[in-house]
Subunit: 362 residues, 2 copies
């Protein structure tokens, strides 16, 4: 997408503003529009583009990116097309079948429209949470319709790649089934587990560990937006949830029926084995599985400069840290840095850390 | 716990060997014992202690730490007491009611026994995965019985704190209900969600993000050990699972019944709101909630030494990085370091990063 290109962003929330920031970094001209003028001003101040000029319909962009909630996409598209705001159109809603059906019903021009969905988001929302790198290396699904023109697909693909994303082409119905499985249903499952904590005794929460935090983390997302996403992808999500519910209900009744008996262990172990098999199929960072990296654990003191020394030692040894997590020790002045490195580099990192005086364990 | 103390560890798996390593670092004498002699040798080679001498029953430790699977605790305790291996006894099983009941049935001496459970673990197991810092800052639950003598509780408390843990005293039945809620049920919920991925189309997995990875991570644990834990805490776990299953089944049927209607959104939003309220009650690192820290995002190049420079700049500015995550960009030479710092230090970190030439966004 060249700097001669002009993109109109309709909806300056997290996704729209982030796209504006990414495109501005590439020198693309960006107009911003939103029903909320304060949101447009903030996005413009952040550097995401300029407010759409109010010049009686003479403004016309190459591509319009419609970044509004799922149930507002079709009406926004119809309005933008009626005003001739752009040559090509796309959207970013997490569901695709619903806005496509509504766009058909409203008689939108489908030749100029490519339904899209960048697989990127955050637990926060609004323009202030936007990041130019939000789409960097993320998948951006495009769901061209039978009517979609090659020119539209080409322009929207260029927009997505200009934001740093990798595009994947799929059908709208397939997309919705896939995200129901890997995104929408997991959100409800996390919420259902987290809901059990709402009235939990404080002592129980005192025994909570990282496992519980991980299982429930995404349940902290915006209930209103997620409610709308789930309602708009109701059937595929309901199918997955019903299967999960059935497995959990069966596990519960088996445990009660055969308490303390080997049969209970066997029954529930079957579900656990299927679960482990499932986790092993999730792609990890860099497109590989997490186990492609070797974990090196280093005990560190919880003070300024300690990690800098460690990373400097790693860098000096030519080792690239692929990922890092710090496990803190509440109330104690030490923690454990968990460093993930390529297997061939683990020995070098171990040697460097030991030479630097850090206790290590691989 | 002084260096004059002698601890006998029965069971040199992950937990037993980690305790041995922690106690040896404090100068405590440690004997190691396991039905698997190879495991004892490996634990001894790692520095967790010395094999229990085979001197016809003259060896006697101050405290015996029984680190065997839940359903083997009582028999192991009875055998060790019959041989007079130690003055006081404790165990580390994730469930407490079952081993206590079995110990009573076997006629064990309960005055010298303190049922215990360190809230620490890993997705890996065996002595090779052991770490001296496994218990550092973790909670170690102790469940003294009416018969337990003060001397036993005092000795076992000293053992736990010598391993770096914080002890919490509770009743066995209360403990089991609490861990059912915050550990055992979440494990099954993660497994049930992950099980849906076992036969998922590869395209769907290509759309998976960090949310799915977090929700399902703990499901990668050992199915056999977890099956035993769940069977041994069957009733409390089943109660939580039945509630989660009911919420999910209701969400599924509501979505199907009222698809695309506002009622579907309302019904499922209620569950999402309860979920968000639940997540807000989980204690975070340093005993505070994660939002006690301010997130500073810095774009970094994916190469050796880059993080070292950044951490050095933070250290020079007197800023302590409380937590860090790296978001990689598959196929691209850049990533985003997400740095968590105390709110008062965020401005200093931003200034230091900008001065060092890193693009930042708060």
């Amino acid at each position: 997408m060249s700097s001669a290109t002009r993109v109109l962003i309709i909806g300056t929330g997290l996704i729209g503003t982030s796209a504006g920031l990414a495109l501005r970094e590439r020198g693309v001209s960006v107009w911003l529009s939103d029903t909320d003028q304060a949101s447009v001003r903030l996005a413009a101040q952040l550097g995401a583009g300029e407010p759409l000029p109010d010049d009686g319909g003479r403004a016309r962009a190459d591509v319009a990116l419609i970044a509004v909630p799922p149930d507002a996409v079709a009406a926004t598209l119809a309005d933008a097309q009626a005003r001739g705001l752009a040559r090509w159109y796309t959207d970013v809603a997490s569901v695709k079948v619903l806005p496509v059906r509504q766009a058909r019903e409203l008689g939108c021009d489908l030749a100029s429209y490519v339904p899209g969905h960048p697989l990127a988001g955050r637990e926060r929302h609004g323009p202030a949470a936007a990041r130019a790198d939000l789409f960097l290396g993320r998948t951006w699904a495009l769901c061209p319709l039978p009517e979609t023109s090659p020119g539209a697909l080409s322009a929207v693909t260029a927009l997505a790649t200009s934001c740093g994303a990798d595009t994947v082409i799929t059908r709208a119905a397939t997309h919705d089934r896939w995200v129901a499985l890997v995104s929408h249903a997991p959100h409800v499952v996390a919420a259902a587990m987290a809901a059990r904590l709402e009235k939990a005794p404080p002592g129980a929460l005192g025994l909570a560990g990282q496992g519980l935090r991980d299982v429930t983390r995404i349940a902290a997302g915006d209930p209103r937006l997620w409610g709308q996403i789930l309602a708009a992808n109701a059937a595929p999500v309901a199918r997955v949830l019903a299967e999960v519910a059935a497995d959990l209900a069966k596990a519960a009744s088996t445990l009660v029926t055969y308490a303390d008996a080997p049969a209970a262990e066997d029954a529930v172990s079957g579900l656990l084995r299927r679960g482990r098999a499932g986790t092993s199929r999730i792609p990890g960072k860099h497109g590989g599985t997490p186990r492609d990296f070797t974990l090196v654990q280093v005990v560190i003191r919880d003070q300024p400069g300690e990690l800098a020394r460690l990373f400097a030692a790693a860098g000096d040894a030519g080792v690239n840290i692929e990922d890092v997590r710090i496990e803190h020790s509440p109330g104690l002045p030490v923690g454990v840095a968990e460093l993930y490195v390529r297997p061939a580099e683990a020995a070098f990192l171990l040697a460097a850390a030991e030479k630097g005086g850090w206790p290590v364990r691989r």
